[in-house]
């Protein structure tokens, strides 16, 4: 008993030991800036309209069917508010409120339509949730400028470790899911994707070479599975970070993943020492603030003060609550990616347990889904033109993902029942190609999808 409790005590001491706040400041700035930029970009490209307003049908996340798009004005308001709150996070202005808003609004927009699911978005959602519970605004922020007494030099170590842990989980899983026959032995899908990018400047010709896909497959797997370790170790950190830059620059060039290479390059900075972070913040402070007309009196406020952890920080209740929440969060993060083991069949084919598991850019998959709606009374069957209801992106994603196919089938049932088709029978002929193999039927095209209750039933004989 005593042995265990000393262990726990020792662990708790480590976990709450003081650490410099500078890495948190960097994270706050990186995530706030990236979300602000990506939200502005999203609006500028007209994607609010394309993604959320124009489509007549939206695919829901299981359990979040109640999250529906607001009317157009509401959606724009959400995006503008999101932009503002991420700017507030960046500047550390009314930070907790801003962080809560940033998390809720961003997650709301993500939950609107399953079509646009990306692991990167999921990561941003998690990172902004974690930002809520850490005091990232207690240095170098507008909040400290308003309330100098809030300034902190040190924070409990866990506030930084949770981000390292989260990133470690993301990379590690991204790495181990690459350990499969297609990826390592066949170099698929990279054998499809790399030569398709042979027009890229500088690296293009290299991508078109015969053995490059194998190099990239193995290097990608090793990189993802081990990078967190190299980043943790001070001796290898600089080189490891160089590979972070290289890796994400290449994936950014190859795939249409928007600002996320930058997000990862920024977020992995959290592995750097507090000194490193303090250095660039000091540099920035000197460059920007000592030159302002207000003079150094104001700029002093941004400087760190030697203070101990305030007594009120970590009131028992809050501390307990946060600790328990984090425990559940990380247990979930570690266990949930394995749920695919509970489903029959190949996870690449059925995609049951595929999402929320950090399976990133793992396969080249595409399908053609043709839906047939039969009038249960007259027996007359018609072929649905998907594009009448879905945009190109929705159709493309739906056509290979069984749960989305079922959702669309249920939508068609309702839609055509309203159009006067009696007791509609909906079936779908779905041909899917995976990693350049000839396309084949995803499930029995004779199944009446209105009678299928779960994705699992599609694959049971």
């Amino acid at each position: 008993m005593t042995a265990i409790s000393t262990h726990i005590e020792r662990w708790e001491r480590w976990w709450t030991a003081p650490a410099g706040i500078a890495p948190l400041v960097t994270l706050r700035v990186v995530i706030g800036a990236m979300l602000a930029f990506s939200t502005a970009r999203f609006m500028a490209l007209g994607w609010v309209d394309d993604h959320y307003i124009r489509p007549v049908f939206h695919f829901a996340y299981a359990g979040f069917e109640w999250v529906r798009p607001l009317p157009a004005a509401g959606l724009y308001a959400v995006h503008i508010l999101l932009l503002l709150s991420s700017l507030a996070v960046l500047l550390g202005y009314r930070y907790r409120l801003a962080a809560v808003l940033q998390f809720l609004l961003f997650t709301y927009t993500e939950l609107l339509d399953l079509t646009y699911y990306l692991n990167h978005y999921y990561f941003v959602s998690i990172a902004s949730a974690l930002l809520i519970v850490v005091p990232a605004h207690r240095a170098f922020s507008l909040d400290v400028w308003r309330r100098p007494e809030w300034a902190l030099e040190q924070v409990p170590r866990w506030t930084i470790v949770i981000f390292q842990l989260q990133l470690g989980i993301v990379y590690f899983y991204a790495g181990i899911w690459k350990i499969n026959y297609d990826w390592l032995i066949n170099a698929l899908p990279l054998r499809i994707w790399l030569p398709a990018n042979d027009q890229l400047p500088l690296i293009g010709p290299f991508l078109a070479m015969k053995y490059t896909p194998w190099l990239f497959s193995w290097a990608g797997m090793l990189y993802d599975a081990t990078i967190a370790g190299w980043l943790l170790w001070a001796r290898t950190r600089p080189v490891a970070y160089l590979t972070v830059i290289l890796f994400h620059t290449i994936t950014g060039l190859l795939f249409q993943i928007g600002v996320f290479p930058l997000v990862m390059m920024g977020a992995t900075l959290v592995f750097f020492s507090e000194k490193w972070h303090a250095r660039w913040q000091d540099w920035f402070r000197r460059r920007v603030f000592t030159n302002t007309r207000q003079g150094s009196a104001r700029s002093e406020i941004f400087l760190l003060k030697k203070t101990n952890l305030p007594r009120r920080w970590g009131e028992k209740f809050v501390r307990r609550f946060v600790l328990i929440a984090l425990f559940f969060h990380f247990s979930f993060q570690i266990l949930f990616p394995w749920r695919f083991l509970l489903y029959p069949g190949d996870v690449f084919w059925t995609e049951q347990g595929y999402r929320f598991a950090w399976r990133v850019m793992l396969m080249e998959k595409a399908g053609t889904a043709t839906f047939y709606v039969k009038d249960g009374r007259t027996g007359r069957e018609g072929t649905v033109v998907n594009r009448e209801f879905l945009n190109a992106h929705q159709e493309k994603q739906m056509a290979m993902q069984p749960d989305m196919i079922l959702q669309f089938a249920r939508f068609l049932e309702k839609h055509y029942a309203n159009q006067g088709v009696h007791e509609p029978v909906v079936r779908a002929e779905v041909y899917v190609t995976l990693n350049a193999r000839p396309s084949r039927l995803l499930f029995d095209p004779a199944l009446d999808l209105t009678q299928v209750r779960s994705t699992r039933e599609l694959f049971e004989p």
Binding site: L45, T115, Y116, Y117, L118, N119, R191, I192, P195, A196, N197, D198, Q199, L200, F206, A208, M209, K210, Y211, T212, T236, V239, F255, Q256, I257, E351, R355, M361, L362, M363, E364, K365, A366, G367, T368, T370, V373, T378, R380, E381, G382, T383, V384, V385, A392, H393, Q397, A399, Q401, Y416, G420, V421, P424, Y431, V432, T433, A436, R437, P438, S439
Partner: protein, 370 residues
């Protein structure tokens, strides 16, 4: 250990480069397809001639319309009708390239929508003639282009003499007709000029596979054209849409001229031509098919696609040239049913297998499952 990794890494990289460099270029999965050469062939061998033909025939159509308007006669009407049919046929070879100069821009929709929206709205056309006023740049795309011209010169229930009489009694009819042919000619000429000018070079230079690349745009419009053939030129008039309780032959393309089947066959020929890189005159160049030969899984896809294309051809052969499509739909739809089914079976090869194997991004945002 870490040191040894650093020490060996350059060596490994050098070895890899050596492997790559020494490997002879042959081999089925050596991806060394020249996409620029393919785009060049599409531009010079298919697209430019297709728009050139369209422009020339539209020119002739406009002249025939002017001749008919200034001196209406049965023979002038028949010459006009022939000119229309020739234009409608060459249009089938040009209707799949709705990007760049033929794409949407501001209020202008794609060329296919501006000159090819069917069925024509007889109500709108009659109203415009009655009012003696029309605007050929508004949203009423079903009151201009080839289908509207067809409606004017081949009204279904009337014979040629009645049409002649209608033009005789209402001068606005002739004016509307020439305004339409003039508009058609101008639109075709504008797109052709762009392809004669700088656009072709831009098209060839934009040789990536990302969304917005020439390959992606060409591919997307190719699939869209194929699906339009299946869904709107055949499926809809046959009553194949859910909720349709009977065939709707009046929704076919070219219902007045009885040219629906002829146009359908030519449209399909054009689709196969794009697949092979073969133009209307039969000259071959590099196309999607040649590209597939160079990628993983490509030969298997070529085989299954062409087997299915053969089935579609057989189904086309089984459909007689007469009676007209509308009549076959209502009286003897069996052969058409088979054709529709075979076209449906071809869809997946073109719509998802092809883009997946070639790694073409068909939309701007990327999914993890890509």
């Amino acid at each position: 250990m870490i040191k040894s990794i650093f020490r060996t890494a350059p060596l490994l990289a050098a070895l890899l480069l050596l492997f790559n460099a020494c490997d002879p270029a042959g081999g089925t999965d050596t991806p060394n397809f020249d996409r620029k050469a393919m785009l060049q062939d599409y531009a010079t061998n298919l697209i430019r001639p297709a728009y050139g033909d369209l422009r020339a025939k539209a020119e002739a159509l406009h002249e025939a319309a002017q001749t008919f308007q200034s001196a209406p006669s049965l023979s002038a009407l028949q010459a006009l009708q022939n000119a229309w049919q020739t234009t409608a046929i060459v249009w089938q070879y040009a209707n799949a390239y709705n990007f760049g100069p033929a794409g949407e821009e501001g209020l202008r929709k794609s060329l296919a929508e501006e000159i090819g929206t069917f069925p024509a709205s007889s109500a709108k056309i009659d109203a415009a003639i009655a009012a003696g006023a029309w605007n050929l740049n508004d949203f009423n795309r079903d009151a201009r282009g080839l289908p509207a011209i067809e409606y004017l010169i081949f009204p279904a229930a009337a014979d040629d003499a009645a049409i002649l009489a209608a033009f005789g009694t209402t001068p606005a009819r002739g004016q509307y007709l020439t305004a339409l042919t003039q508009d058609l000619r101008a639109r075709a000429a504008a797109v052709h000029d762009a392809w004669l000018g700088n656009y072709a070079a831009n098209f060839v230079e934009n040789a990536g596979t990302d969304a917005g690349s020439s390959t992606s745009q060409l591919y997307n419009e190719f699939v869209r054209s194929f699906e339009a053939l299946k869904n709107f030129k055949l499926g809809l008039p046959m009553g194949k849409r859910p909720g349709q309780t009977m065939p709707a032959p009046q929704l076919a393309e070219a219902p007045y001229s009885s040219a629906s089947l002829l146009l359908l066959r030519n449209h399909y020929d054009a689709i196969e031509g794009i697949w092979r890189g073969k133009n209307a005159a039969g000259a071959e160049g590099l196309g999607f098919r040649a590209y597939l030969e160079k990628v993983e899984g490509g030969s298997a896809l070529i085989q299954s696609t062409e087997a299915q294309m053969a089935a579609v051809r057989a189904a086309f052969t089984a459909v007689p040239d007469s009676p007209a499509l509308s009549e076959q739909i209502t009286q003897s739809p069996a052969a058409l049913d088979t054709l529709y089914t075979e076209l449906q079976k071809l869809t997946r090869y073109l719509k998802s297998d092809l883009s997946s194997l070639l790694g073409i991004a068909i939309t701007y945002s990327s999914g993890d499952g890509d």
